[in-house]
Symmetry: C2
DNA sequence: TCAATAAGTCAGAAAAAGATGACCAACAAT
DNA sequence: ATTGTTGGTCATCTTTTTCTGACTTATTGA
């Protein structure tokens, strides 16, 4: 027997907020792009013709807010904004590697 | 520059099917229950009053199909069906532990 | 000042995931 | 054969995610 009624068990999962950021649509793909170095919004649009602006925009914001991506505005010629993986982002990306080691 | 137009990059993520199974609603909680040993459907219903049958049923089916849970029918007194973590399930559960080591 | 480019936002539609309550099947004891 | 218990399914509704296409802002070179 695993439970007696006098002790409430804790079912919270400390990783759940991060799960949202790694499991959403386009997020694994964005991680793959980010792994190659800094990238721009327009680059994502070219790489993922099946994605729409809104989804990518929301994904980038989520990831930025989670501290996974850094955003840099480089006010040059036409207007550049660069995203890049933070150290935390590198850690989080390890989740995909971890998962891919599990047998089918 | 990370891309030239002649080489198409692979953006598939081998872990994506498993992501669905670990990130869905109630799934982390079900893993926690499963970590304590074999459990039954009715036990989940008691532990998670906020969950509904259908959601739990679908979650269990997903996890079984992914090879994460084993299902055993023990045709005793009233009819018992037991779920328990497979070895693969134990591996997959490691994802939560991995994620929880990442700093906020 | 006007146009071009990058990087978005916004309102609304469609699709997917989750919730609800009624119903069903297997089994065993009566 | 009937009833009670466990373990679900089914049709339907609601909520959340994702998609679509039009519109906006910032910058700068002509």
């Amino acid at each position: 027997m695993t439970n007696n009624s006098s002790i409430a068990k804790d079912y919270t999962c400390p990783g759940e907020p991060l799960l949202r950021v790694i499991a959403g649509k386009w997020k694994p793909q964005i991680f793959k792009v980010a792994a190659d170095g800094p990238f721009r919004f327009s680059h994502l649009m070219k790489e993922f013709p099946g994605a729409n602006k809104q989804s990518l925009s929301v994904a980038l914001r989520d990831m930025e807010e989670a501290g996974i991506l850094f955003k840099t505005t480089i006010s040059e010629k036409p207007l550049h904004i660069e995203y890049q993986l933070s150290p935390k982002g590198v850690d989080v990306m390890g989740v995909y590697k971890y998962i891919s080691t599990i047998q089918k």
